[in-house]
């Protein structure tokens, strides 16, 4: 059977037409299967475990002068960071922004989330001095007010996990939390930058 001849001369029998249709069907199914397999291979790493990823557009980063304005449209807040900082966008819905000042060895996080607990309860629940797995070398909590929001500024260091600071501000049942972690970096500069990061907060 010469398929081109069939078409050109219009002499295809019913069986030949059916065979051609069958071949086309197989080809279509094959392409469909290939597409499905390809799609499954394109699953992002956590998707096969049920991790929920953020939708495009939830994160916006705009240049504002020498800084970058970073907006989380899911958690409804914005902060401003220097353009030189590395920004690690949260890929999944539960995650915070991470910012890295690689020059000074600082790692920052920001998040804004619902929590009915008081700041005192949150501080108490996360008090590392009561953690038997950590050797706490310093610990301090101070009240702080930023842009009319009252909050807690926590500073502690442990042998096992290094130097950490947190500024947690409360507004209407939600907590804006920004944190700092330093291992080998410049703590003084990182601490100043944490305060600036908290002060740049805009809630929506």
């Amino acid at each position: 059977m010469k398929l081109p001849t069939l078409f050109f001369k219009g002499k295809a029998t019913r069986g030949q037409v059916l065979m051609l249709a069958f071949i086309l069907l197989i080809l279509t199914l094959g392409l469909f299967v290939i597409k499905i397999v390809k799609q499954s291979n394109e699953l992002r790493p956590g998707e096969k475990y049920g991790v929920e990823y953020r939708a495009p557009g939830e994160i916006e980063i705009t240049q504002v002068g020498e800084n970058k304005r970073v907006t989380d449209n899911r958690q409804n807040y914005s902060v401003t960071v220097p353009s030189s900082w590395q920004i690690e966008k949260p890929e999944t819905v539960t995650h915070s922004f991470y910012f890295y000042d690689n020059t000074n060895g600082c790692k920052f996080s920001t998040s804004y989330y619902e929590n009915p607990a008081t700041l005192e309860e949150i501080v108490q629940q996360n008090d590392v001095r009561n953690d038997p797995y950590l050797t706490v070398t310093s610990y301090d909590v101070e009240d702080i007010v930023i842009d009319n929001f009252s909050g807690k500024h926590t500073i502690f260091e442990t042998l096992e996990t290094g130097y950490l600071e947190g500024i947690d501000l409360k507004k209407e049942g939600k907590i804006f939390s920004t944190g700092l972690g330093v291992l080998d970096g410049n703590r003084e500069i990182c601490s100043q930058e944490l305060l600036q990061l908290a002060e740049s907060l805009e809630l929506r």
């Binding site: 790692k107 008090d127 797995y133 442990t158 290094g162 947190g166 291992l183």
Partner: protein, 517 residues
């Protein structure tokens, strides 16, 4: 010279295998903390600052090239029960003490394992089986970013620690070369080990092409140091076996080739040698048929001073208390203003009304960082007014403590409490009660307005709240410290509140309260 070294190497390589059955089991690890299909590199070994010191002296960091390890599965190394988790991705206060998102398991022999800096976790409480998926690798918490291999997610790795029952860490891995390091040196920086726990067939197929870097080993270049070499081999093989002997009956399918490969590598250049350790699941009889001695170490436990705090008792108040919380934030201040504008108290019906239907009320759960507080009643925030043999007329809550999990029988202790805010850590609420397996019921009548109230629990282990005998919030199961809250529309008047709690094992803490929204 080299043929002689190779010969010695072969002998010692075989000797290593011969020595294996004589080593004792030290840990209860069934498998590495990741799937055998995922070869990981040990990027940071024992006793290496800035993080593998103190109680994490024998922690291990695992990673892969680039960002390959990011969101790779982490599995339990042995059967266990979750005793603490942190789900927050924040740095600072809520970073789980700097460990980021982590899971802490307690195993049957009293040892514990921590899996830290995870990106996600899929478990929050209860029992975990060996090999069960518990989370995905990430870079949460205070991670060391000295490795520049993963630019997109800096610091991605799994931080894995095994703890003794006294919470000191111990070595689950063969890193003999790192034994004598001080905090000022980093001789283990380049140490890597390949975990292979695959079928023999797969190993045979992969053996030739797999990277063969285990450790940098200084090979003596003179025959006079054979004694030292022997000692080294014994120490090294001892360490190797201490870990892998605890894999279920491992079979050293390539053990002899290990010795050969190491010494042949030594013959090829300098005094550095490399080889691969390869292991497979059992296909023949166990190497060590003797039963394991997995009894936890014995510790001296000092008796706790369980005398209750002395607090000036206030006389019982016959008037029903309005337990609106003291000071909260902006939202609460608004509530207070609304309260002042409501009807006077005498307009409130004396007979308690049934609360509105809240069967469909959504319940929120917030899993928090494991709560560790001061031990025993001294750490309890709720003042103890009296210890009496019969139930007193309490102004707020009557607290009944039971020496069992199910609130069964007569309470061992009854007292009045003005608030429910306890942190017993690993201690007991009272000398009449055990540190584990006790339960508590708080009950009382309270005045509510016609408004929506938010009821909140921060609980380790289980608890639940009843309003007029209707269960509005149920977290009655074993768990580390978790937070739950539910918004409930209440009618004006008196309502009976009953809050029940139980503590099963390890840490115990409980807070319950409500506020008007």
């Amino acid at each position: 010279m080299f043929p002689r070294i190779i010969t010695i190497g072969r002998i010692l390589g075989i000797a290593l295998i011969a020595l294996v059955p004589n080593f004792s089991f030290a840990v209860d690890i069934k498998n590495p903390p990741f799937y055998d299909t995922e070869p990981f590199v040990l990027t940071r070994g024992y006793n290496t600052p800035d993080t593998h010191i103190g109680k994490d002296k024998y922690a291990l960091d695992f990673a892969q090239n680039g960002c390959s390890a990011f969101l790779k599965p982490v599995i339990a190394v042995s059967d266990g029960e979750i005793i603490s988790v942190n789900t927050s991705t924040a740095e600072g206060l809520r970073s789980g003490g700097g460990f980021g998102i982590f899971v802490l398991l307690k195993h049957s022999d009293g040892t514990q394992s921590r899996y830290a800096h995870l990106n996600e976790i899929f478990v929050s409480s209860g029992k975990i089986k060996s090999g069960q998926l518990i989370g995905l690798i990430g870079n949460t918490g205070n991670v060391n970013r000295e490795s520049k291999s993963c630019l997109e997610h800096p610091g991605t790795h799994l931080h894995f620690v095994m703890y003794n029952p006294d919470l000191s860490s111990y070595k689950p891995e063969p890193i003999a070369l790192c034994e004598d390091v001080t905090v000022n040196t980093k001789p283990c920086e380049n140490f890597t080990v390949r975990h292979k726990y695959k079928s023999e067939q797969k190993i045979a197929k992969e053996y030739e092409k797999m990277p063969k870097i285990v450790a940098e080993v200084s090979v003596p270049d003179t025959a006079e140091t054979i004694e030292t070499t022997t000692n080294f081999w014994q120490n090294f093989s001892n360490s190797v076996y201490n870990f892998f002997a605890n894999v279920d009956n491992p079979v050293f399918v390539a053990g002899e080739r290990f010795g050969e490969a190491l010494w042949e590598a030594a013959g090829e250049g300098n005094n550095q040698a490399s080889a691969a350790l390869i292991f497979s699941p059992p296909t023949i009889e166990p190497l060590n048929p003797e039963p394991l001695n997995l009894e936890p170490e014995t510790f001296n436990i000092e008796p706790l001073n369980l005398e209750p705090e002395t607090v000036d008792s206030e006389p019982p108040n016959p008037e029903p208390l309005n337990l609106e919380p003291e000071t909260f934030d902006t939202a609460l201040e608004t509530s207070d203003i609304e309260l002042k504008n409501t009807e006077p108290a005498d307009a409130v019906p004396a007979v308690p009304e049934t609360p509105k239907d809240f069967s469909e009320t959504p319940v929120a759960v917030v899993t928090g960082y494991g709560n560790y507080g001061p031990t025993g009643p001294n750490g309890s925030a709720a003042p103890i007014e009296a210890i009496v043999p019969v139930p007193p007329a309490c102004a707020a809550f009557k607290a009944e403590y039971f020496a069992n999990l199910t609130l069964a029988g007569e309470p061992a202790l009854v007292q009045c409490e003005t608030e429910i805010k306890h942190n017993w850590q690993q201690g007991s609420p009272h000398e009449l009660l055990p540190a584990d397996d006790f339960s508590v019921r708080w009950s009382g009548s309270f005045l509510f307005e016609d408004a929506v109230y938010q009821f909140l629990l921060i609980t380790d282990d289980g608890s639940r709240i009843f309003v007029d005998d209707v269960n509005i919030l149920n977290a009655w199961f074993n768990q580390p410290s978790n937070m739950y809250f539910v918004n409930v529309p209440m009618t004006a008047g008196m309502h009976t509140i009953r809050i029940e709690y139980y503590e099963h094992t390890v840490f115990a803490s409980f807070t319950a309260r409500w506020l008007k929204l």
